[in-house]
């Protein structure tokens, strides 16, 4: 046995230079795979961006190319301030504002309501706690998409079509944030509550002065995920908002596509720039708060 080992070791020593070269080749291969993957992800976006810098006539002739033109300013002006559609109210600026209202409103609403409910479930002795728990967590099972039509009817009956409440509140009706904060609160050491009670802190003071500051990172992570989720909503806004001044950028993408198709010379530059503006805020948030975002995402499933 030991002989065989020694022989193997000797063989390994002998073949070392060859092996090192092989390792280098393997590393090169790893990088090649990663570069291909990164190109697969980024090239479409680069092409879409390139098209916003050249005149639309040019695109009809050549499609995406390597030329960077001077039309970006003009396309930006058209995209942000010139309205498309019938009512003339869905300019890029307006849609951008609506997107921010939906993204931030959804994230804040979900976090506030979720934290409150999770606090009640974890820290209080309640007779119907189990019932409330199950009522809330059943909502995790059925995504909005399977009950869109009846949800639409409810919103219609409440007279909330084409309002921000109608857009945001039904989206909050699932317990992802509640579930997440419940898991997090349960991991907070028990001694904290005891200490707070001995010091005479009531439940409100404990929540505001101890639990909320303690959860800062978790709140940030949740905020990023929920903001992106709200910003990117499509089906629900498509059904609830029919007036063009209520469109978000993502909701308006179909109109943006029609801008591209309708005219004699399709306005590719403008349409593409609007698509890019719809992408920038959520991508920016995800890239710049990467560590929080990844932590929040990968820990929420436990």
């Amino acid at each position: 046995m030991s002989d065989a080992n020694t022989a193997a070791m000797a063989a390994a020593t002998l073949t070392q230079p060859a092996k090192r070269r092989r390792i280098k080749a393997a590393t090169l291969f790893d990088h090649a795979v990663l570069i291909l993957g990164a190109l697969f992800m980024i090239v479409p976006l680069v092409m879409v961006f390139q098209m916003t810098t050249v005149p639309d006539v040019e695109i009809i002739k050549t499609g995406p190319s390597f030329v960077i033109g001077d039309q970006l300013d003009e396309n930006f002006r058209k995209a942000m301030f010139e309205a498309s559609g019938f009512s003339g109210e869905n300019s890029g600026t307006n849609m951008l504002v609506n997107s921010f209202i939906l993204g931030i409103g959804f994230a804040v609403g979900k976090i506030v309501i979720g934290m409150m409910a999770a606090y009640a479930i974890v820290y209080f002795r309640l007779r119907f706690a189990t019932l409330a728990f199950w009522m809330i967590f059943t909502t995790l099972l059925l995504p909005l998409e399977v009950r869109i039509l009846p949800s639409y009817e409810v919103v219609q009956r409440l007279g909330m079509l084409n309002t921000y409440q109608g857009l945001i509140i039904p989206l909050i009706a699932s317990a992802t944030a509640t579930f997440f904060f419940r898991q997090y609160f349960r991991s907070v050491p028990e001694e904290l509550v005891e200490a707070a009670r001995i010091d005479g802190a009531g439940p409100v003071k404990f929540f505001v002065d101890i639990l909320v500051p303690l959860s800062k990172t978790m709140i940030a992570a949740m905020f990023i995920i929920m903001f992106v989720y709200g910003w990117n909503q499509y089906l629900w806004p498509t059904m609830i908002t029919t007036e063009e001044d209520m469109f978000t950028l993502v909701r308006g993408i179909k109109q943006i596509t029609q801008v591209m198709e309708g005219n004699r010379i399709p306005e590719y530059g403008r349409a593409n720039l609007l698509a890019i503006i719809a992408i920038i805020p959520p991508v920016f948030v995800v890239i710049f708060f990467q560590s929080w975002f990844v932590k929040g995402l990968t820990e929420s499933d436990k």
Partner: protein
């Protein structure tokens, strides 16, 4: 619940109330309504409705178009799930290995997470533009006349490709974090026992990633079933015609465009049952799954 909880009576009820009201109004009411109206036939002119029992369901199951859409949904889900998981796993394993530029690769591979599905569909429209789309030209090179929105298979291909593109980043993030949580000691032990890199991957890394993979499997199936709505809607430009579509898109088309409330509700209920079955399956598997830590 914490052992050392507060005993205040009114406060927890007050805290729970907003959440409970919202889910009662916007979850339980609509869900119950869907189940109820799936047993009724709506008058097309809005003059009330009549009870028809299970007719809406049997009509659906007899409908060959519905069966065709259900079959397409299955194929679509399998393809999207398989390719986005496989591609993400490959990229995560490589990104876990390299030292140089690891952070740059990570950022470049995950930013698409934040792109909305319909915007991804829009980018697909650009790539597959009939006259100058770069991918249409690529197909031209190999002698295939790619027609998005006209040819059934071409449209299905574009839908799968765009959906995979959009989903790879999520899987990548989870696989990478799963890989990085494998203890160093385990890796070193594997390095001593097994000299071939691919052997190490299949014998050690892959089984350790299995829980992550299983969790992602469910996430990806749900994604392919529901969240691809935006991709499909933009790729067919809101005109489904003879193009492929998924079950969720069909619910929308029938209920919102065709005003077939009963049939659409029955479809919703079928989807609800599907999701519930998936969840039950997931819970049972999670109970059984092995923890290595």
């Amino acid at each position: 619940m914490k052992r050392a909880g507060f005993a205040t009576r009114w406060l927890p009820i007050l805290l729970l109330l907003p959440q409970l009201i919202i889910i009662a109004v916007f979850f339980y009411w609509p869900a119950a309504h869907a189940v109820q109206s799936s047993f009724y036939l709506q008058d097309p002119f809005g003059f009330g409705s009549s009870f028809v029992g299970f007719d809406n369901y049997t009509d659906l199951l007899d409908n060959s178009e519905y069966r065709r859409i259900a079959w397409f949904t299955v194929v679509f889900t399998v393809l999207v799930t398989f390719f986005s998981l496989a591609l993400a796993l490959l990229l995560a394993v490589k990104a876990d290995k390299v030292i140089r530029g690891a952070k740059t690769y990570r950022t470049l591979l995950m930013w698409v997470y934040a792109v909305a599905p319909p915007v991804a569909g829009f980018i697909g429209l650009i790539m597959f533009n009939q006259s100058w789309g770069p991918l249409t030209r690529l197909f031209e090179q190999v002698g295939h006349d790619f027609t998005l929105g006209v040819n059934y298979n071409d449209t299905a291909f574009a839908m799968v490709l765009v959906s995979v593109w959009k989903q790879v980043p999520v899987n990548f993030i989870f696989f990478l974090s799963g890989l990085q949580s494998i203890p160093k000691s385990v890796r070193e032990a594997a390095l001593i026992d097994n000299r071939s890199a691919s052997g190490r991957f299949w014998d050690v890394t892959f089984p350790l990633l299995a829980p992550t993979g299983f969790f992602l499997l469910i996430i990806n199936i749900t994604y392919a079933l529901f969240e691809t709505f935006g991709v499909i809607d933009t790729l067919v430009k809101g005109e489904p015609g003879n193009n492929p579509m998924t079950l969720v898109y069909k619910v929308y088309v029938d209920g919102f465009r065709g005003n077939d409330l009963g049939g659409s509700s029955a479809q919703s209920v079928i989807l609800m049952i599907l999701v519930l079955a998936l969840t039950v399956f997931q819970f049972r598997m999670v109970e059984r799954r092995i923890h290595y830590t």
